[in-house]
Symmetry: C2
Subunit: 252 residues, 2 copies
Amino acid sequence: MTPISDRKRREIAEREETFLDLALRIVLEQGYVGLTMDKLAEATEFSKGTLYLHFKNKEDVICALLRRLQMVRLDLFQRASQLELPPRQRITALGLAAELFVRLYPENARIEPILKASSIREKASQERCDALDEVELQCFAAVLEIAQDGQARGDLTFSDRGSPEHMVTGLWSMHVGVNLISSVGCGPSQAGGEAFLQDTLYENGARLLDGYGWRPLSNEFDYRALREELLRTQFATEAKQLKLADSSTAPN
Amino acid sequence: MTPISDRKRREIAEREETFLDLALRIVLEQGYVGLTMDKLAEATEFSKGTLYLHFKNKEDVICALLRRLQMVRLDLFQRASQLELPPRQRITALGLAAELFVRLYPENARIEPILKASSIREKASQERCDALDEVELQCFAAVLEIAQDGQARGDLTFSDRGSPEHMVTGLWSMHVGVNLISSVGCGPSQAGGEAFLQDTLYENGARLLDGYGWRPLSNEFDYRALREELLRTQFATEAKQLKLADSSTAPN
DNA sequence: TAAAACAGTTGACGGATCGTCACTTACCCC
DNA sequence: GGGGTAAGTGACGATCCGTCAACTGTTTTA
């Protein structure tokens, strides 16, 4: 209530961001197992007790970390989904956004499966989990909306088999699967390395949409050229960050 | 060398299976975090020291556990891949095998992502990891072989885009992704529950192959009927285990 | 047969980490 | 400046991992 206490409150809220910054650095440097609450407390120059005022437990930290990363993805997704393009072109742009996200923030690809797989959700606070789900749901919704748009325009019909939800779940699971395989860093289908996997995802995404008959099919339109154009225009900043030469370094 | 020492040796080798049985039971009952070496030692009625003669560490136990489960999958896969059917029908049979495996051994679906995601591989012994990779590679190879067969017969052509490896990686990652999402038990695309996800996988697998133009396309052949037939014949045992009525309970 | 050598087994222990809580410190208001 | 409240601390108990010196039972040797 008092002015001072307001300032304090703000400080505390801002501090959380710093905590997450440091947590992320530790995870990147020493891996998920390398992140301990003692270490994090020391890095923040606060005590463990204070840390536990912000986060219910270690899993809560991871949850918060992931949410922050997912917000970035959501931003990329929404930028793609708001482009003025026909639906299938737009979903291709969104695919590019997904790829850029993975390449820009590989730490996400490493953390996400960990969080999903192990029993982190069981221990993290309900609020954090909900907050995380909300972002992911919005990402999913962004994709779904495009599919429904395609259906509305008649570029895409489902007759009696499948639905926009089916199709988008297919894209989604392929994306999740590639990330998981990619983060393992060995096993089959890792022979070609990360670049091969990303290329595979791009190609298979296109083939899946072709399989649903979403016009224009991948042999009816030069999606590769669209990709290059988007990298030069809408996603120029991201492309530059990745040092992708304008047109040459596209996979395959 | 002596007869007695041989008997002992055999006993020790067999003991490992028992250890894994008990470990699996604990994981199923109390989750991955519920599995402690102390608990496992107590369950085995041996001491922790003896346990550590068999396994380098806790991660090694999980690795061994997973390998044993994967061997079952491999068996199912190979049975499917040896059926006398045209390639695309055969890969559909293999898809059914994958689905049966997940439904028969849901614990695998729960353990597999955990192992892949977290840093278990970093700690488990090299031998266990290699053994595990080997099985997975064989599974992958079984699928790949069918694709190559289809290519050889001319049912499937890649022109300049894609390859059998691309395509199979697509199927693979979709499978892995669905399992991961399924094991999380919440988030988007979980709305419909596990059955929806499996159905989605089936449908999207077919659509992906359609997208590659693998004949006969899913609207040129009654794959649903093939599925029913396989459940009655080749996979009757498994279907019975799952209490799938012969023809009625197919998803969708 | 007794003693020595060996293989197999044990569980107490050190080390690491988590999460808590009784206590201290800092800040504010009167 | 004194009293009250909010913020912050770090020692502590609890849990779990993985080790190793000691122990037990069996085989080999003398």
